[in-house]
Amino acid sequence: MTKTRLLIIFIIFIALNIFISLLNLWQSIWWLILFVDFVLVVAFAEQVATIIPLKYQKLYQRALAISFPIFVLITWELIVNAGILNPRWFPPPTKIAAALWDLTINYDRFNKTSLFGRPWLAPSVLQSDGWPAVWSLFTESHVLTTLWRVFFGFIIGAIPGILLGIIMGLNKTIRMMLDATMSAVYVLPKIAIFPIMMLIFPNPFGEGPKIAVVAISAFFLVAISTMAGVRDIDPVFLQVAKNFGANRRQTFWHVIVPGALPIIFSGLRLALGTALIVIVAIEFIRAQIGVGYVVFYHWQILATDKMYAGLFVVMVLGILLTFILQAIERWLMPWRK
């Protein structure tokens, strides 16, 4: 039964695509054909799911998740090569990959930068010129610079954010005083305060204002979610602490911190995403180095393949940072499987 259905879907898929190709309709209604093809693929995959044995279901689901982006990339490649999309604006994935390789191995003499800092040169440079030369390899890297800005901004913002959030969660007076103001500042797009930061810092074009904006955007998100986390602790746990003779310090470490941790972490995840958005936006407008700069610079010189390569790197950075945060989360909260 299922096999017949699979066969029917498959035949429709092949017939449709041949038919459209013969009629030379791809050029005009390619988006519609792609949509129908997608629906057919989904129908096919659903039928396949019914005949996969239970123990392979998990594997099958993972295969679907991995194969989808691969299909998208292949389709992209094909429709660009078929002349349907303009390769100037939408360079095919193979060309983007080549551009990424190009950015990785080559040093930009004009800007004195490279994408990853050419770590393979480190051993030979160390031998000839010592540690300062290795350090300069690091500082020439777009990726490491962006990571450094996000990391420092995040730490400088999140730690005071957690502290203030806990204080606001525990002390009603401070909460009443600050809550409305915090909520008002919270909705302000943090990138909008970048000009103020440039006014405040002695070197408006240095690292100071960039890191400050990342820190401030992380700070408010983390402070507000930490406050919510502390307030969200079931009062019965505080009663248990009291009943079992916990003093203030013990109540703090045994009840308040672990009790608020899950919501603190959801705030940290939000803050991390925002930090990445903010840093890329700042690197667009005012930076000589950083992945945001890579994207924007190559847009300006119409090297779109390198622009996409930069976007790809931003995406990988986002995934990587989220991964690290999740690993910390699992390590700190083993009770949440």
């Binding site: 746990f237 602490a241 045994h254």
Partner: protein, 264 residues
């Protein structure tokens, strides 16, 4: 020897609709080693009384005195809460050792004490599990073990089995009887269930519907050690019939009051 002496306890709450009297001139004396059950309809203030006994809430008037054994360093009381209230972020053994840890007892010693209590409640295999991996009945056993491991002068239990299904509740009642029999700690036990009160208690105290007052006291002279099978005897049925007679007007009154609230 009198262990708990609560005299003329009143509790008045301020609410949007004026003052609500939860407890009205309620007095209770509990002998050392006695198991006292408080039974009353919903909202009669029995939990409030327990929380006042535990020092979690102040009384509006009246006095509480819990006698300590001579030269004892034991904590005065510990509560077993209805909703388990074991910390989801601590393993089972660390939950049981919580009170000991708060009292500054060294890690090795408190782990040993906690482990011996886990054996008594048949959870030693689950020592390193987190509460989310346990069933409701197992969680409540952890909660009971946590209170007992702390070895308080008196144990206060606030409908500890109220949230469990009937079968699990029966199993835990039997377990409670067995554990209590070993050291006969002074217990104040709050429950909705007359059967549970008779099965466990030396004395059953019926409270009136809101405001909570003492309505009637029943001495339960059933021989100890008791077993679950006791509930099937004629003597037990007779007792529960008598106690129900005392309670039923209060339950009806509480129920009608709830209906009135809904109509309002």
């Amino acid at each position: 020897m009198i262990k708990i002496k609560a005299q003329n306890i009143s509790k008045i709450y301020d609410s949007a609709n004026g003052k609500i009297t939860a407890l009205d001139d309620f007095s209770l004396e509990v002998e050392d080693g006695e198991f006292v059950c408080l039974v009353g309809p919903s909202g009669c203030g029995k939990s409030t009384f327990l929380r006042i006994l535990a020092g979690l809430e102040p009384a509006t008037s009246g006095s509480i005195n819990i006698a300590r054994s001579p030269n004892s360093t034991k904590p005065v009381n510990n509560v077993v809460f209805q909703e388990y209230a074991i910390f989801p972020w601590k393993t089972v053994i660390n939950n049981v050792a919580f009170g000991l840890e708060m009292r500054g007892i060294g890690k090795k010693q408190r782990q040993e004490i906690a482990m011996s209590w886990l054996e008594k409640v048949a959870l030693s295999k689950f020592a390193n599990y987190y509460p989310s991996q346990l069933s409701g009945g197992m969680k409540q056993r952890v909660s009971i073990a946590r209170a007992l491991a702390n070895d308080p002068e008196v144990l206060l239990m606030d409908e500890p089995l109220g949230a469990l299904d009937a079968q699990t509740r029966t199993v835990l009642q039997a377990e409670l009887l067995r554990i209590w029999e070993k050291d006969r700690k002074t217990v104040v036990y709050i429950t909705h269930s007359i059967e549970e009160a008779i099965l466990l208690g030396d004395r059953v105290i019926i409270m009136t519907a809101q405001p909570g007052r003492l309505k009637e006291t029943f001495e339960i002279d059933l021989a100890r050690p008791r077993e679950i099978e006791l509930t099937a005897t004629a003597e037990f049925a007779k007792l529960s019939g008598i106690i129900w007679q005392a309670l039923k007007d209060e339950v009806k009154q509480a129920y009608d009051a709830q209906m009135m609230d809904k109509v309002d």
